[in-house]
């Protein structure tokens, strides 16, 4: 009998708590009254990143002393860990979403849209670079996350090697070819070029090509620009001006730059901490991506803070989310140099101006649900073409086949 009483009492408690906590999405939202614990989850790329986040969370604590943040970074396979939490309907309150998987998670209905709150609680999203913010827009036009920071691709080059060879860093595709030839004449392979779409696509955009139509409903891969850019890129390999990191015997282009195997690479801001840590004595500089026939273009990589549909503490979550992606929080987050701001109103850290300003002409690295299959199709076909099994046409045919299959999925 006493057991039953206990169960009934705790049930009543749970119900009371649930009712008390469900004051979200009301018109009379008063941040000062929100209290409790809010859980925050993500992955941690480096100890510096953890330290920087702690500083931001201290700032949050000072502004909202009644809210406690429970930070639980996920070690290992983040997507797998989050999928388990979504399936159990127990996601953290605020968490990272990689732009690449955002369309999948939005389609699966595990994220909470933010537009209603932004409207009723007047959060200004116009300061985010569209290239970052648009990565988290669903097919319904709603926004499911705000970019916590961002990164673009730019050209990193070793000025010592280039000036010793008497060449200027290239600013256009044509110059890329001539620089490649000039360096080859001196026995230098100019470029370490990745054979994956997350680099090649920047060149495709610069030549006016695209993967998808503007409404993301059909493929645009066979429109002009795509094939031209592919042929340009493949030709750099064929002429011996470029090699893949794998053919240089390194795991990524940053290492090829550090080991002076290639003087020119195309990477993002993550290169800086790597070079400072591993190759502090190798000189390198940033420049915008070379222009193609359609002008400047690059790729924008980003990660959002999002709230789960089943997150338990929505009000506190909203306050944390908007603090972390707001002007003040992002300023603290990016000033240590671990990340670049995704907002126009936060100044770029010194030496990273190129990477931040490139966001103005960047296309988001975020496409459609099921994109990982398209990515795999392109990457494998591209490697095949590099190794003598195919050409630009086979890459286009195989990617289009997979892309169409994903677009036609219910």
């Amino acid at each position: 009998m006493r057991r039953w009483l206990l169960v009934a009492a705790s049930l009543a408690l749970v119900v009371a708590q649930a009712c008390g906590g469900s004051s979200s999405s009301g018109g009379n939202f008063d941040p000062a009254t929100v209290s409790g614990t809010v859980s925050l989850s993500g992955w941690q790329a480096s100890p510096e990143e953890g330290a920087a986040l702690k500083t931001v969370l201290d700032g949050f604590k000072a502004k909202y002393p009644k809210i406690t943040v429970d930070y639980q970074p996920v070690a290992g396979d983040y997507a797998a860990a989050m999928v388990a939490k979504f399936s159990a309907h127990q996601p953290p309150d605020v968490f990272y979403v990689n732009a690449e998987v955002a369309p999948d998670w939005i389609k699966q209905g595990v994220l909470h849209s933010l537009d209603d709150w932004a409207g009723s609680r007047s959060f200004d999203t116009s300061q985010f670079f569209p290239g970052y913010l648009n990565a988290f827009k669903g097919a319904d036009g709603k926004t499911y996350g705000y970019p916590k920071d961002g990164n673009t691709l730019a050209m990193a080059y070793n000025p010592d090697i280039l000036s010793a060879a008497g060449v200027q860093p290239p600013t256009t595709f044509d110059e890329m070819t001539s620089v490649g030839a000039a360096l080859k004449a001196k026995g230098i392979t100019a470029y370490s070029l990745s054979s994956t779409l997350d680099r090649v696509l920047a060149f495709i955009y610069a030549d006016g090509g695209n993967l998808l139509s503007a409404d993301k409903k059909s493929s645009a891969i066979d429109k002009p620009g795509f094939k031209e850019a592919l042929n340009f890129y493949l030709n750099l390999f064929k002429m011996g001006y470029a090699k893949t990191p794998s053919d240089f015997g390194v795991d990524w282009s940053g290492k090829a730059l550090g080991e002076k195997k290639a003087p020119i690479i195309f990477e993002g801001g993550w290169l800086d901490s790597y070079m400072h840590g591993t190759f502090p004595n190798v000189n390198y500089k940033w420049m915008e991506m070379p222009k193609g026939t359609a002008g400047k273009a690059t790729l924008a990589f980003t990660v959002s803070y999002s709230i789960g549909k089943d997150s338990a503490h929505m009000d506190a979550a909203w306050l944390l989310l908007t603090y972390l992606t707001g002007k003040d929080g992002m300023k603290i987050w990016t000033q240590g140099g671990v990340a670049l701001p995704s907002r126009k109103d936060v100044a770029a850290p010194a030496g990273k101006e190129v990477l931040v300003s490139s966001a103005a002409f960047a296309h988001p690295w975020s496409f459609i649900p099921g994109f990982s299959k398209v990515l795999d199709a392109f990457n494998n076909a591209f490697t095949g073409a590099l190794q003598g099994n195919g050409n630009a046409d086979t890459i286009i045919a195989k990617t289009k086949q997979t892309l169409d299959a994903q677009l036609n999925q219910p």
Binding site: H89, G249, L375
Partner: protein, 311 residues
């Protein structure tokens, strides 16, 4: 009765009690096995008939998941790669394991040292060994340096010395690495059986004037038949489930040019990159059928179960 139980009833009770005690001892592992192995097997079968995403089932698809799998070109590549890998790696593993076992069995001095040394790769984590091999097989890695020392120029090869990065050599490189890492485990299986062969048989062979090779061919090899069966089954199952080495060496996408796409990697992609749990469960069932069939064929090939268990 003085404690002597001869009656049928009492013997039966004793047996029943003994059986009960036995079941009591294995109750917990048995329950875990039933829930997490058998239970989840049937649950996957159930899931495989649905479109089942992160938040659960959405549509009943019947056999449509299976139809998609059987039509998908990438799955065909995955099966082709996994089968090729198995057909090549299993005989190598068995031959290596047997050679090591026979060698270790004949050494008396330092026997435990060699046993441990040969077994070492099996203890080390496959991820660590794969990373080590990525360095060894890199274009400027140890293997190519050794080749240059003996006058071979790897850069002139079709793969430009990029063993794991070129689609023509990637899978064979993983075969080489795995044959080496698993040989220690296979050696242990063989070693146990080798030591179970009674010495009288060898003495009799000696009396009959059999030499070393004849003894091995006519006595050791045939008497190891149960071990051959065990090793073959274990390594075929392991080989068809190849995942971690392929994932670490080639990435989730099976690059270069799908050379490292395996059935389990395909399953991983369906689950954690495409979030199609129903489809992934169907892939798991297809893999189960492939492994089950392979095991049945081996049973046929290596003789009846009586034969295997009576030795």
């Amino acid at each position: 009765m003085l404690g002597i139980r001869l009656g049928r009833g009492s013997l039966g009770t004793e047996r029943a009690q003994e059986a009960l005690a036995g079941y009591a001892f294995i109750a917990i592992p048995l329950a875990l096995f039933m829930i997490f192995n058998i239970g989840s097997l049937f649950y996957s079968l159930y899931i495989s008939f649905w479109r089942w995403e992160i938040l659960g089932p959405t549509d009943f698809l019947g056999l449509r998941n299976y139809q998609f799998i059987l039509r998908d070109e990438i799955f065909h590549t995955a099966v082709k790669n996994s089968v090729y890998y198995t057909v090549i790696v299993v005989p190598i593993q068995m031959a290596l394991g047997l050679t090591l076992a026979v060698t270790v069995n004949q050494i008396w001095r330092g026997r435990s040292f060699f046993r441990a040394a040969f077994y070492f790769p099996a203890i080390a984590s496959s991820a660590a060994i794969t990373v080590l091999f990525i360095y060894i097989l890199a274009p400027d890695g140890l293997l190519n340096h050794l080749l240059e020392l003996i006058g071979v120029v790897p850069l002139s090869f079709h793969n430009r010395g990029n063993w794991l990065g070129h689609s023509d050599t990637a899978l064979n490189s993983v075969i080489g690495l795995n044959a080496w890492t698993t040989s220690g485990t296979m050696m242990l299986y063989y070693l146990g059986s080798l030591q179970a062969i009674p010495s009288e048989v060898y003495e009799a062979a000696k009396v009959d004037g059999a030499g070393g090779w004849t003894t091995f061919r006519r006595i050791t090899f045939p008497l190891l038949a149960p071990a051959h069966y065990l090793v073959a089954v274990v390594s075929v199952i392991g080989a068809l489930q190849l995942f971690d080495q392929a994932y670490i060496a080639g990435g989730a996408d099976g690059n270069p040019n799908y050379a490292l796409m395996t059935i389990v990697l395909y399953l991983y992609n369906a689950t954690f990159r495409q979030f199609e749990f129903g489809y992934a469960a169907a892939v798991g069932i297809v893999l189960f059928i492939i492994i089950f069939t392979a095991t049945l064929i081996q049973r046929r090939f290596f003789g009846s179960s009586d034969w295997a268990s009576s030795r």
